[in-house]
C-alpha cells in the first residue's frame, strides 16, 4: 500500500498540480486540504498519514499555527511536516524549521522532482 500524504494549500491550481505530481511520479496517496482548519479535520477523520506537505501563508490558520495545533493534539503530534513556501530565504527557512518542521521546499517547485525532494527530506 502506498504512503499517505496530506497536502495543504489554499490555491486550487497548486493542489491539483501537486496531487498529480506526487501521485503519478512519487506514488503517494494524496489527500488534499484547502486550509489549516480543513487539514486538522482531515488528520482526525481521514488518517493515518505518513507525512504532511503544507503551505505557509494561508488565510485563517496559517502553516505554522496549524503545525502548532497538530503538535498539541494526539493524532498528529509526531507526524513529519514539510513546509512549502513562496518566501524562500535563509532566515525564513530557519524560522520555519524552528517551528519543528522536518524540512522546507521552495515555491515554485518543479513537479517532476517534487517527490524526490520530499523523499530526501523524509529520509534525513
Amino acid at each position: 500500500m502506498s504512503s499517505r500524504l496530506l497536502f495543504v494549500d489554499d490555491e486550487d491550481a497548486i493542489r491539483v498540480i501537486a496531487a498529480i505530481s506526487l501521485e503519478r511520479i512519487g506514488g503517494w496517496k494524496v489527500i488534499a486540504a484547502a486550509s489549516g482548519q480543513a487539514a486538522l479535520e482531515a488528520l482526525q477523520d481521514d488518517g493515518p498519514f505518513d507525512a504532511v506537505l503544507m503551505d505557509v501563508m494561508m488565510p485563517g490558520l496559517d502553516g505554522p499555527s496549524t503545525l502548532e495545533r497538530m503538535r498539541d493534539g494526539v493524532v498528529a503530534s509526531e507526524l513529519p511536516v514539510i513546509f512549502l513556501t513562496a518566501k524562500a530565504g535563509d532566515s525564513e527557512r530557519e524560522r520555519l524549521l524552528s517551528f519543528g518542521a522536518k524540512g522546507v521546499i521552495a515555491k515554485p517547485f518543479d513537479p517532476m522532482t517534487l517527490s524526490e525532494q520530499l523523499r530526501q527530506i523524509l529520509e534525513r
Binding site: A13, I14, R24, A86, A88, D90, P108, F109, M112
Partner: protein, 581 residues
C-alpha cells in the same frame, strides 16, 4: 568620610540595586562638599600634604568604579575594553598622586619633574587609548569629512586658548631646563590630544549605554584642561603648591570619572550591535561652533591686555554669531535626521511591498511552472515534437522569470542590509565542488569542460551557501559565453593573506570600458544578451554584493576575443577560527 567608604560605595554599585548607586553618588557629593569646605576654611592644618592627600580617595573611587564598570560589561567586549583602559588610566593617576604626596611630605618645595609626572603623562596616553576603544558607528565618507572638519575647529579653538594661556607663556619663560620645560608643555599638549579624541567620540554616534558616561567624561576633561593650564604654568614658575584652590578641579575631575563609571549599567552583548543604536542626533553639533567664539573671545582678552575683562561687546558679538550659527546648524541637522527617518520608513514600506509582490508573483508562477513541468515531463502522455518544443520554451522562460524574481528579492535583501551571513570555516575545494555539481548539467549541455585548480588546504571563513551562489553565478556566466569544446577553469589559491578565486573562460571577452559596468544592475555587455542568453542582468551585481559583504573584492580582466577571468577574494580563516574545521 574616609577613602574606604567612598570606594565601597562605588564598588557596591555593581549590583543592580538602585539604592547602592544612590549611596555612591551621595558619598561622592558629600566628599566633594567636605573638600570644598576644607578649601574654604582650612579647618585642618598641613595644607600642602593634606591637599594632595585629598586627591587620592577621588582617584581610587574612579579606579574602583571604572574597574566595576568593566566587570559589568563582561558580555560586551568592546565596552569592556573601553572601561579597562579607563581603569588603567585611573590606576596610573592614583600612583602619580601617591608619589606626589610622598614628595610633598619629603620636601617643602617638591622637585619638578619627577617620576610622578611620568605617571601623570601616562594617564593621558591611557585615557586616549580608552577613547579610541569607544565603539563608534561606522560613518560614510562625507560624514567622516564632516567629523574631521568639526574636530579640527574644536582642536584649533582649544589649541589657540592653550597656546596663548599656557604653551606660549611657558615657552617664553624658559630658563628652567629643557626637561622641565618639555614636561610642563606636555600637560596642555596631552589635554589637546584628549580634546581631539573626545570630539571624535562625541561627534559620532556611540552606544546609548555610554551616553551619560561620555557626557560626564567630557565634563571631567574640561575640568582637567582648565586645571592643567594653570598647573603647567604654575609649576614652572614655582607658584603652584599642592592644595592650591586649583586642585578643586582635579578632585572634581575624578569624581566625574567615578560618576561616569557608575552610570554604566550591566551591558548586554547587543548593546554593541550598531543596528540597536539610536541614530546619531545633532546633540553635539554645537561643539565646533561654540568653540570658536569661546576660544577667540579669550584671545581678544589676551590681546587687549585684560585677560578677564576684555572688550565685552566684541566677545558678546562673537558669541552671538557663534550661537546663531550653532542654532542654524542644529536645525539643519535636525531636518536631515527627520529626512533620514522618513527615508528609512519609506524604505521599510518598499521592502514590505517587494516582499509581498515577490510572494504574489510566485504563487501563480507555481501553478504555471507546475502544469508546464507535468506536460513537459510527459506525465499526460508524449507530446508531439512541436508541442514539446513549445512547452520546453515556456518552461525555460518561466524559469527565467522565477530567477529574475529571486534575484530582485536577493538584491532587495542586500540593499536593506538584511542579508545575514552565517560565517563558518569551510574548505575552498568543497565550495567549488558543490558549485561545479550544480552547473555540471549546464556544462554538459553546452559541451564545455569544467576544470578546477584549488589548493587543498585553503580554508576560508564564509557563508557557504552564499559563496556557492557567487560561484554558480560566475560559472553560469562563463558557460553561457564559452564556445563548444572549450574549457572553463575555476582556481583558488592563497594570495597576500586572502583566498583568491578565479573563473576563467575562453569566450568572446569583455571590452575594457565595460569591465566595471557589467557589475551594475541590469547591465549586460550587449543589450541583446538578455534575450539570447537569458539571465536577469542581476547575477554579477549580486555576486559582487555578496563578496563585498564578506569584506572581499571582485573584479574582471579580459581580452576581447580571448576570454575573461573573474576574480574575487575572501578572508582566510584565522588561527582561532580553526577549531570548527
Amino acid at each position: 568620610m574616609s577613602a574606604v567608604e567612598v570606594n565601597q560605595a562605588g564598588g557596591s554599585a555593581a549590583t543592580p540595586r538602585f539604592t547602592s548607586a544612590r549611596v555612591a553618588v551621595a558619598s561622592l557629593a558629600a566628599y566633594f562638599a567636605i573638600y570644598l569646605s576644607w578649601q574654604a576654611f582650612h579647618w585642618l592644618p598641613g595644607r600642602q600634604q593634606l591637599g594632595q592627600a585629598f586627591l587620592i580617595p577621588a582617584d581610587m573611587a574612579a579606579l574602583c568604579a571604572t574597574w566595576m564598570a568593566a566587570r559589568r560589561c563582561e558580555s560586551a567586549l568592546r565596552l569592556r575594553s573601553f572601561w579597562r583602559w579607563m581603569s588603567a588610566a585611573m590606576a596610573t593617576q592614583t600612583v602619580a598622586d601617591i608619589f606626589l604626596l610622598k614628595y610633598n611630605i619629603q620636601y617643602d618645595q617638591p622637585p619638578f619633574p619627577t617620576v610622578a609626572d611620568a605617571f601623570f603623562l601616562a594617564f593621558y596616553v591611557l585615557l586616549l587609548g580608552a577613547l579610541l576603544h569607544v565603539p563608534v558607528a561606522p560613518a560614510t565618507r562625507a560624514k567622516r569629512v564632516r567629523i574631521l572638519l568639526d574636530g579640527a575647529i574644536v582642536v584649533l579653538g582649544g589649541g589657540a586658548v592653550v597656546w596663548y594661556f599656557a604653551l606660549g607663556p611657558i615657552a617664553k619663560a624658559g630658563g628652567q631646563g629643557t626637561l622641565a620645560m618639555a614636561v610642563s608643555l606636555a600637560y596642555p599638549v596631552g589635554d589637546l590630544v584628549l580634546l581631539a579624541g573626545l570630539a571624535a567620540v562625541l561627534l559620532r554616534s556611540s552606544p546609548p549605554t555610554l551616553k551619560v558616561a561620555l557626557l560626564l567624561i567630557a565634563g571631567a576633561m574640561i575640568a582637567s584642561i582648565a586645571a592643567d593650564v594653570v598647573y603647567g604654568y604654575g609649576v614652572l614658575h614655582d607658584t603652584y603648591k599642592s592644595g592650591d584652590p586649583i586642585d578643586t578641579l582635579y578632585v572634581l575631575e575624578f569624581l566625574l570619572f567615578t560618576l561616569a563609571a557608575l552610570s554604566q549599567r550591566t551591558a548586554r552583548p547587543d548593546d554593541e550591535i550598531l543596528g540597536n543604536w539610536s541614530q546619531p542626533t545633532p546633540r553635539a553639533s554645537w561643539m565646533p561652533y561654540m568653540t570658536a567664539p569661546i576660544g577667540f573671545g579669550l584671545l581678544i582678552g589676551v590681546e587687549s591686555g585684560r585677560p578677564f575683562f576684555p572688550d565685552l561687546s566684541l566677545v558678546l558679538i562673537l558669541t552671538m554669531i557663534g550661537g546663531l550659527v550653532a542654532a542654524r546648524q542644529y536645525l539643519a541637522l535636525r531636518e536631515l535626521a527627520a529626512a533620514e527617518a522618513k527615508l528609512r520608513h519609506s524604505e521599510g514600506v518598499k521592502d514590505e511591498f517587494i516582499s509581498v509582490v515577490g510572494h504574489e508573483l510566485r504563487t501563480p508562477l507555481t501553478s504555471i511552472r507546475g502544469s508546464l513541468g507535468l506536460l513537459e515531463g510527459g506525465v499526460f502522455g508524449e507530446l508531439s515534437q512541436e508541442a514539446g518544443s513549445m512547452v520546453t520554451l515556456a518552461v525555460a522562460n518561466t524559469d527565467r522569470l522565477i530567477k529574475l524574481i529571486n534575484d530582485i528579492l536577493d538584491i532587495e535583501r542586500m540593499d536593506a542590509g538584511r542579508l545575514d551571513l552565517d560565517l563558518a570555516p569551510v574548505k575552498a575545494f568543497e565550495l567549488v565542488g558543490n558549485a561545479m555539481q550544480i552547473v555540471q548539467m549546464t556544462a554538459t549541455q553546452a559541451q564545455v569542460t569544467l576544470n578546477t585548480e584549488v589548493s587543498e588546504d585553503l580554508t576560508i571563513s564564509v557563508d557557504a551557501d552564499r559563496v556557492i551562489q557567487v560561484l554558480v553565478n560566475l560559472l553560469g556566466n562563463a558557460l553561457k559565453f564559452s564556445p563548444r569544446w572549450s574549457t572553463v577553469t575555476v582556481a583558488a589559491r592563497p594570495e597576500r593573506g586572502h583566498a583568491l578565486f578565479s573563473i576563467e573562460d575562453t569566450g568572446r571577452g569583455i571590452p575594457g570600458d565595460r569591465l566595471e559596468t557589467i557589475f551594475e544592475r541590469f547591465r549586460q555587455v550587449d543589450s541583446s544578451d538578455a534575450r539570447e542568453k537569458g539571465g536577469s542582468g542581476l547575477g554579477l551585481a549580486i555576486a559582487r554584493d555578496i563578496v563585498e559583504q564578506h569584506g572581499g573584492r571582485m573584479w574582471a580582466e579580459s581580452e576581447v576575443g580571448q576570454g575573461s577571468v573573474f576574480y574575487f577574494t575572501l578572508a582566510l580563516v584565522g588561527e582561532d577560527d580553526m577549531d570548527g574545521v
